[in-house]
Amino acid sequence: MSTAAVAVGVLRLAGDGVTHRYGARLALQPVSFEAGSPGAVAITGENGSGKSTLLRILIGLLRPTGGSTVLEVGGDVFEPRRRRQVTGLATPELSFYEEFSAAENLLFAAETRGVSDPRGAVRDALEAVQLNPRADDRVGEFSSGMKQRLRLAFAILHRPAVLMLDEPGSHLDDAGRAVVATLVQTYSERGLVLIATNDPQEMTLAQRRIELRGRGLGSPA
């Protein structure tokens, strides 16, 4: 696999009337949008408007109860169940094996994903989030900020074409936020970055915005 700087080719991510309900509760109002690379798109909306739900649907973890999504990378259409191969997700819900070190967790992920040079990928990812000094410490001993950095490292481990960040700045200090900004910069140049956030500063990292709310459709700004 090439370095992060090389563009992934034509990329299209679109949703058409995507909606999800858990039983009677509507978790995501129908939303339609279209996004492509290069670029970064912020997904905003009040708590419970379905930002995380939308990301889970886009990455293929959750089958929406209505509507459809399309992901096309370099002329190749990725069905929901294959999307995890070309997408990376960092979300506060993501936890690691506490009995393993940061490097071991990432190495396991890289090997399972079938990354060509797992050790190299782990080293690069840890470096990108400036966690390498603590690479061999057990995750159980990590602070919440370090865990957040590890989530970011996990998301970029396989150099995804679409990087999805759910509240990337949570628990992070200034240096950590700078890491997020750099990642968004790098990955929006070669592919697409989605940032689910309500933080005004994080929104400025993106050029466009999809707002989830009310009964309305997502309106790319």
Partner: protein
């Protein structure tokens, strides 16, 4: 309406003839009469459970909640008929063998089926969310049905059983000695029970759908 009355009269007539008119089978004597109730119940159990599994597979294939309604309803009814078959069998066993329960292979397998589908319903009760419940219970239903042929056909053939094999002989031919009167009453009950099952099934499915619609309207 008319066919429901017909069904009622049909079963009532078959039952009356079976209980009052039909001759008795030697050895079984008076206990012959349980056959009109016991075997159709056991038969419907298998039909219902097969129906349930079929709709479970359809659900996994198409993700249409209507299939899950059918799977759930058929499992409930299957369990009900399974209890009927078990109880009537136990009563018969008391009369013939002197005890309600002997862990005869037939008794063992019907008891396993009872457990399997109670577990299925317990599982349904513990999952939140319609899609999730439908998907996970469909998975369980398919695995459970893997066990059913072993229980119904393989295990009782492997071990010695005292259970009479009145109807089906090697090769599946009807036993020639079966009295025509017995056979007609029996077949009439079999048909009646099968129709009864499908009627109850449509009722149960309709109730489930109404409940869901009400829930959606409220939410």
């Amino acid at each position: 309406m008319i066919w429901r009355i017909t069904l009622f009269l049909w079963i009532a007539a078959a039952m009356t003839f079976g209980l009052l008119k039909a001759p008795l089978v030697p050895v079984l004597e008076e206990t012959t009469r349980v056959l009109y109730f016991h075997i159709p119940s056991a038969w419907v159990t298998v039909v219902a459970l097969g129906w349930s599994m079929l709709h479970s597979i359809l659900y996994l294939w198409k993700r249409d909640l209507r299939n899950d309604d059918h799977a759930a309803a058929a499992a409930e009814l299957g369990l009900l008929f399974c209890i009927a078959a078990t109880v009537s069998g136990a009563l018969w066993a008391k009369a013939m063998w002197g005890a309600y329960w002997n862990w005869d292979p037939r008794e063992t397998s019907i008891f396993f089926i009872l457990l399997l589908y109670s577990a299925y319903l317990a599982l349904r009760g513990s999952i939140e969310g319609d899609e999730k419940r439908a998907r996970l219970s469909a998975i369980y239903s398919v695995v459970a049905f893997v066990a059913v042929p072993f229980l119904i056909f393989v295990v009782p053939r492997m071990y010695d059983t005292l259970h009479p094999n009145l109807i089906v002989r090697e090769g599946g031919r009807m036993k020639v000695e079966m009295d025509p009167m017995i056979r007609w009453c029996f077949l009439a009950m079999l048909a009646g029970f099968t129709v009864l099952f499908f009627w109850l099934q449509t009722l149960r499915v309709r109730v489930t759908r109404l409940e869901r619609r009400r829930q959606l309207a409220r939410g």
